[in-house]
Structures are given as structure tokens and as C-alpha cells.
């Protein structure tokens, strides 16, 4: 298995007082065809503020930075500290115009590199079990 894989930004998060959007770089705009059929997207972005060896070595955290939550492995969380700094979040589409996806909200900061967009298809209903810390404030997945 190769030691590493290379990923490239395909776009960027833009957040201002006036709008929240994803700007896809021109060369990837053809990849948006048909996205308007969906109400929601999965956005994968890079936690670029944490791209330091120390933060990428973090393996356990208190979820949601709350010390009263039990120490938990990063793979049992959505913590922005993790070996590969991939963030995953669901966004509601407001409008798509050319290479711009206007979205309702995103838990990323302005300028975050976007590395993938996938359509959001809900899973078939199935019983799901969660620990207590994950039941509260589900919206804040990090």
C-alpha cells in the first residue's frame, strides 16, 4: 500500500455577512451537472488550520471540547484533530449558479479548502445507537 495519497482542493468555502457559498474552481465545474436535483449535499473539506504534525497526531479528545464528555478516540468523533484532516458535513442547497453553490449554512470557516462534494442520499431507516454525548446538540457534529 502506498505511504500516502495526494488530494487537491476542488473549491473553497466563502462565508460573509451576506452569503455562505462554495466556489468550485473553474476546471471542476462540469462535475456539478445534475446537482440541482438534490436538496442537500455532503461537503468534504480540509481542516487546514490544524495541518500541523501535532494536531494530526492527536488520537483522543473530549468531544465538542467539553471536558465533561468522556475522553474519546478521534475515530469515534468528528473532531477537527485527526490523522487525516477530512471534515464531513451536510449542507442544504439554496441555489446553484455556474460554479457557485449557495448553501444555507456550513460549520467550516471562511476560506476552508473543499476537497469533495457528494450528493446526499439518506440511509434506509435502521435502528441507530449513540453514546450520551452524541445525543445532545446533534447539529454540532464536531
Amino acid at each position: 500500500m502506498p505511504q500516502s495519497f495526494s488530494i487537491k482542493p476542488i473549491g473553497v468555502v466563502r462565508k460573509t455577512d451576506d452569503f455562505t457559498r462554495i466556489e468550485i474552481f473553474d476546471e471542476y465545474t462540469d462535475g456539478l451537472l445534475g446537482l440541482e436535483g438534490f436538496s442537500h449535499i455532503l461537503v468534504l473539506y480540509w481542516f487546514d488550520q490544524n495541518d500541523t504534525p501535532g494536531k494530526r497526531q492527536t488520537l483522543q479528545v473530549h468531544p465538542r471540547k467539553d471536558p465533561s464528555n468522556p475522553l474519546t478516540g478521534v475515530f469515534a468523533t468528528h473532531s477537527p484533530r485527526r490523522p487525516n484532516l477530512i471534515a464531513l458535513t451536510r449542507c442544504k442547497i439554496v441555489a446553484i449558479t455556474g460554479h457557485i453553490i449557495e448553501i444555507e449554512d456550513i460549520d467550516a470557516i471562511d476560506d476552508s479548502p473543499v476537497i469533495d462534494i457528494k450528493c446526499y442520499i439518506p440511509s434506509e431507516d435502521e435502528a441507530v445507537r449513540l453514546p450520551d454525548w452524541a445525543r445532545m446538540n446533534r447539529k454540532d457534529t464536531h
Copy 2:
């Protein structure tokens, strides 16, 4: 913005007639603490069979390789051909023993590099819109 980011495998998919599992590499095992509280995980793996410039340049596909589905941008699908070869799938945990996560099933081939695991926390209910091709056979998300 940097031109590229580096990701490293944190484990590997193992599928045999007897089991389906994710083997997390020893140095990342501490990241699994608390995962047993969840019934399901999100598994991010690398479509390593497609790691060629040609396949990474694919921007439009017929979803689910069905020519009767409309030509669609890869960002409106979960196609294994895309600029960054990140696969995302939900798996049901059967058991966790040390660095091994036994799972019920996964849509990855044996030996696929695993690049991240996140807990699965369902989204709050909200009306979701899908195009016709995405309504059928939801399980086969690719």
C-alpha cells in the same frame, strides 16, 4: 491555498468468505476509544484502483454505471471516479476487538486503504429531495 494535501492510510479493509473487517494500524488504535458506543460508523476509504490521472480527471458519469441514468457530474454522485478518490460509506459494527472493527458489510474491495473513521450520527429529520436515479436501490450508493 496549498496545491495539495497529504493523507495516509490509517488501516485497511479485509474481506474474506469468513469475515468483513477493518484493521486499524497499531499506531492509530488509540483513536478507537469509545467507538463501541455507536452502532454504525462512517468509513472513508481510498478508491485506490482508480488512482490514475485519467480516472481522476473524470467529471461526468452515468450514475451506477447505468447508461439509462442521465449524464451527471461526479459531485452529484458517489462515483468511484472523481478528482479526489475519497469513498464514503456507512457500516454497521458487529464487534470491536483491539484494532479490529468487525462490520456487517462494506461496498469496498478487499485491501482498500482506509483513510478515516467517523462516528455515525443521523441528521435531524428534514425534507430531502432526490433525482429519480437516486431513489432506486439506495444501498448501492456508487
